[in-house]
């Protein structure tokens, strides 16, 4: 199946911050004008530092954040279009089956008082998707097997399981209603390295087998690069670059992307200190800089950047970037030895 699963057009999500001294209402623009298409069947990565708005963007695509301006729609596999700003109750009921969220912390996401079977079955029961208890049990067993959970474990409580097993339970619960679109918000961040690869491989396998569309939110560019077929980089509520991961790593066209790549600690001890360090920290989204939001930390910033916000524009095949000086970056080289294979 082809087409677009999720469409965002100039999306803005604002949160009220009270009033300032003059009594003017203040807002925090968590998402400040995002236009993006997530292709059906893709594993779409969204990266950024804390405070970049990546979680809010993910929630906006699940009707879990207010749409202040612009539009966000999700199209399911039957072609029904759900507009997040105007879901009526019947539509919302259908939408909740079709779109699910996998959380970061598998220790906090599972009720300690429910058995694994009850945790996985709860969405089916709440949404009344099965007529009989046997039907529920069959569905739970089928999805548990697909998530490589042991059927005997279904009677146990979550405390008996390790982080990796718990995350597999969370995934089974998200998939039990047979959704099309999944938002995975930092779903491997809380896991140990040795388990992280296992969960990533499982998510990819399920995506392939069940034809799912994934929005994979992460702060870890190396994880995203390995799993996703498209990557969007977010900074202070805006998308600064979108590209397939190979393209993004070989030739980043936004200085923020380049800095993020070079900040990944290299596994080569002799690669010390060659990274391009970013000065300072991400500014508060309540008081974003003028012009290009990145100019306060950008090594390439000039007068134009302080005055004029750059638009996200095509800079190469399948690659878009929001920088006035993208063309200059195409010429300059980038350090890609980050977390490199180990030289022999």
């Amino acid at each position: 199946m082809t087409g677009t699963a999720v469409t965002l057009r100039d999306l803005e999500v604002h949160y009220p911050l009270g009033r300032n001294m003059l009594g003017t209402p203040q807002v925090l623009k968590a998402v400040a004008g995002v236009t993006l298409d997530i292709p059906r069947g893709s594993f779409f990565g969204l990266v950024g530092e804390s405070g970049s708005g990546k979680t809010t963007l993910g929630r906006a695509t699940l009707a879990a954040a207010p749409v202040s301006a612009g539009r966000v729609t999700v199209t399911d596999r039957d072609g029904e279009v759900f507009d997040m700003a105007r879901l009526d109750r019947a539509q919302e009921k259908r939408f909740r089956r079709r779109a699910q969220l996998i959380f970061q912390d598998p220790y906090a996401a599972l009720s300690p008082r429910m058995t694994v079977r009850d945790i996985i079955a709860e969405p089916l029961e709440v949404m009344r998707l099965c007529k009989t208890r046997d039907e529920v049990n069959d569905r739970v067993r089928a999805i548990a097997a697909q998530c490589r959970l042991n059927i005997e474990h279904l009677r146990r409580f979550p405390h008996a399981f390790s982080g990796g097993q718990r995350q597999r339970i969370s995934i089974a619960r998200a998939l039990v209603t047979n959704p099309d679109y999944i938002v995975a918000d930092e779903s491997v961040a809380a896991l140990d390295v040795s388990i992280q690869a296992d969960i990533l491989n499982l998510l990819k396998q399920l995506q392939h087998d069940l034809g799912l569309t994934f929005l994979f939110i992460s702060h870890d560019l190396s994880v995203v690069a390995h799993s996703c077929d498209h990557v969007a980089v977010m900074y202070l509520g805006r998308i600064v670059e979108v590209a397939p991961p190979r393209r993004l790593f070989a030739a980043p066209r936004h200085p923020y992307t380049r800095a993020l790549i070079s900040a990944i600690p290299s596994l080569d001890p002799d690669d010390r200190g060659r990274a391009e360090r970013l000065e300072g920290e991400i500014p508060s989204p309540a008081n974003p800089p003028s012009g290009c939001a990145f100019h306060t930390r950008c090594p390439m910033a000039r007068d134009r950047c302080r005055a004029e916000a750059p638009a996200l524009r095509q800079v190469g095949t399948g690659q878009r970037a929001a920088c006035h000086f993208s063309e200059e970056m195409a010429a300059s080289s980038v350090r890609t030895g980050a977390r490199a294979g180990v030289p022999g």
Partner: protein, 330 residues
């Protein structure tokens, strides 16, 4: 430069309702002044418990093994850490000679006391400085770690600082007492990758300047590669491999170390499949017999299930505890 810290056969278990849980099992290592030793391992490997043992900070249900030895040598004087009794004696390893930086700086600063007052208090306590001198030194340290408007920050509370600032303030506070040994427990894990790079850079500068030894605890081999001189890899309370950081990362001897490296996403080959270490970390209540790693090891043999492997030296200062590694028994 001589041996600063010597740990031998450190064994530590916790008494729980479900029986004793072994957290550290026969751990030995040395640390010199001006040296950074990385302690890497996953959750439950016992790396934090080992670090806390050095300051005797583990809860009261901790039982140290009879053979356990921890000796800190500074200024020609040996301190037998396990023999320390009473708050005054313990102060030597809790702030005087050893300082610690924690993962979550928000949880480590008292929320209702200004950063400055906390810094001054510990300087009065450990260095016997007057309030005015302590304030001067604190502001100087805050400036040294790259905090702008240090005098203003001095009077602020932890919540007024950003995550990266807080971690810098934590480092300034830990180093202001001029400790001989700095324990850094996942100091960059809670930070964004761009801030992590700044903090790593800062810590490397400070080792050169202050010459203390650092025990750097992390789960991230990339961070270890960028900071440590030597690395010890822990799994379920044991050091399974130990050696110079280049050797261990380029020629890992233990199957667990190899597994950890293979599980990391490599940016040079985005198409390469990620290889997880099979299985899950066993519960601490069900410690495997023989080699603790045999339940997840791709090359385990019959003897691994029954016999604990000895630590063997593979090459200069590089050792591993695996039956299948060729080497000389230590």
């Amino acid at each position: 430069m001589g041996g600063l810290l010597r740990v031998r056969d450190l064994t530590l278990s916790f008494g729980t309702d479900e029986g004793p849980v072994t957290a550290v099992d026969g751990v030995s290592f040395d640390l010199d002044q001006g040296e950074v030793l990385g302690l890497v391992g996953e959750s439950g490997s016992g790396k934090s418990v080992t670090a806390k043992a050095l300051m005797l900070l583990n809860p009261s249900n901790a039982r140290y093994g009879a053979e356990s030895q921890m000796t800190l040598t500074t200024e020609g004087r040996e301190i037998d850490i396990l023999s320390l009794k009473g708050a005054k004696a313990l102060r030597q390893v809790r702030g005087d000679k050893i300082s610690m930086i924690f993962q979550e700086p928000m949880a480590s600063f008292a929320p209702a006391i200004t950063i400055g007052r906390q810094m001054v208090e510990q300087l009065q306590l450990h260095r016997g400085l007057t309030r005015a001198d302590a304030k001067m030194l604190s502001v100087e340290m805050l400036e040294r770690v790259g905090i702008s408007e240090a005098a203003k920050r001095f009077d602020q509370y932890a919540f007024e600082l950003s995550g990266g600032m807080r971690q810098r303030a934590m480092i300034a506070m830990a180093l202001s007492t001029k400790p001989k040994l700095l324990i850094a427990d996942e100091p960059t894990t809670a930070l964004d990758v761009t801030i992590q790079a700044q903090v790593i850079e800062l810590m490397k500068e400070l080792v050169g300047e202050f010459g203390m030894g650092i025990l750097f605890i992390t789960h991230d081999l990339g961070v270890i590669a960028q900071t440590a001189d030597r690395v010890a890899v822990m799994y379920l309370g044991r050091i399974v491999e130990h050696g110079p950081v280049r050797d261990v990362i380029r020629r890992p001897a233990h199957p667990y170390t190899r597994g950890l490296i293979d599980a990391l996403p490599k940016l040079t080959d985005l198409g390469a499949p990620l290889t997880p270490v099979p299985g899950d970390i066993p519960s601490p209540l069900e410690r495997p017999a023989g080699c603790v790693f045999h339940t997840r090891c791709p090359v385990a043999e019959a003897r691994c299930r029954t016999h604990v492997p000895a630590t063997r030296t593979i090459r200069s200062r590089h050792s591993a505890a695996c039956h299948l590694v060729e080497g000389v028994s230590v």
